[in-house]
Symmetry: C2
Subunit: 120 residues, 2 copies
């Protein structure tokens, strides 16, 4: 059997569209960074790289590369909205649990979560 | 009119599932990094942060945070497969052109590209 036949799904991708978040939290780069890094650490994974940026007059973008996964965030405090991506491959990281934690920490009252499978 | 009513789409998200790529290229962290950074620069955007990692025995993961966008990549050289994400907000970055360039550079003979709208 060729390797390609064994695995249909190589990655799980969770798209979080979080509406009605706390605007103050979404504009706080230190808080957003702490949320993503703490979620990664709670999952027991190693953080390989971190990039965050705060825009003027508002908004935060960030990417956290971790073993077997990545987390990315873009926030629009003026709309109370955050787009977050959780991509995982391997078993070291539970994306459903990470999604639950992020929704809770950003205080989203209207979260939409879509799960996609990536691979063949 | 409240701000929320003006914009339905805040971000464009392109999901690239690239099959039948050159396995050698997918395992070359310097090449993969160069591809993503060059695509970002060709779009005329500023690179805000870069994180890349090569796994043993194979595979590369990376994230490039740029003004108004992010690019993320995970490669499986053993399957000739790469999962790439292009997320853009604002007009400084053309995700369709970036997708075209990445498919070409990774020599994917079987690319699948899905465009999603992010926001409300």
């Amino acid at each position: 059997m060729r390797a390609e036949c064994k695995l249909g799904t190589l990655g799980k991708h969770f798209l979080l569209d979080l509406k009605d978040c706390s605007s103050g939290l979404l504009d706080d780069i230190d808080f957003i960074k702490e949320v993503l890094i703490s979620v990664a650490k709670e999952a027991g994974t190693a953080v390989l790289g971190v990039s965050f940026h705060r825009f003027q007059p508002q908004g935060v973008s960030g990417a956290v590369l971790i073993t077997g996964a990545h987390l990315c965030v873009h926030t629009w405090p003026e709309y109370g909205y955050a787009a977050i991506d959780i991509f995982t491959h391997g078993d070291s990281f539970r994306p459903d649990e990470a999604a639950r934690l992020i929704v809770e920490k950003l205080e989203s009252k209207n979260p939409a979560i879509v799960e996609l499978k990536r691979g063949f």
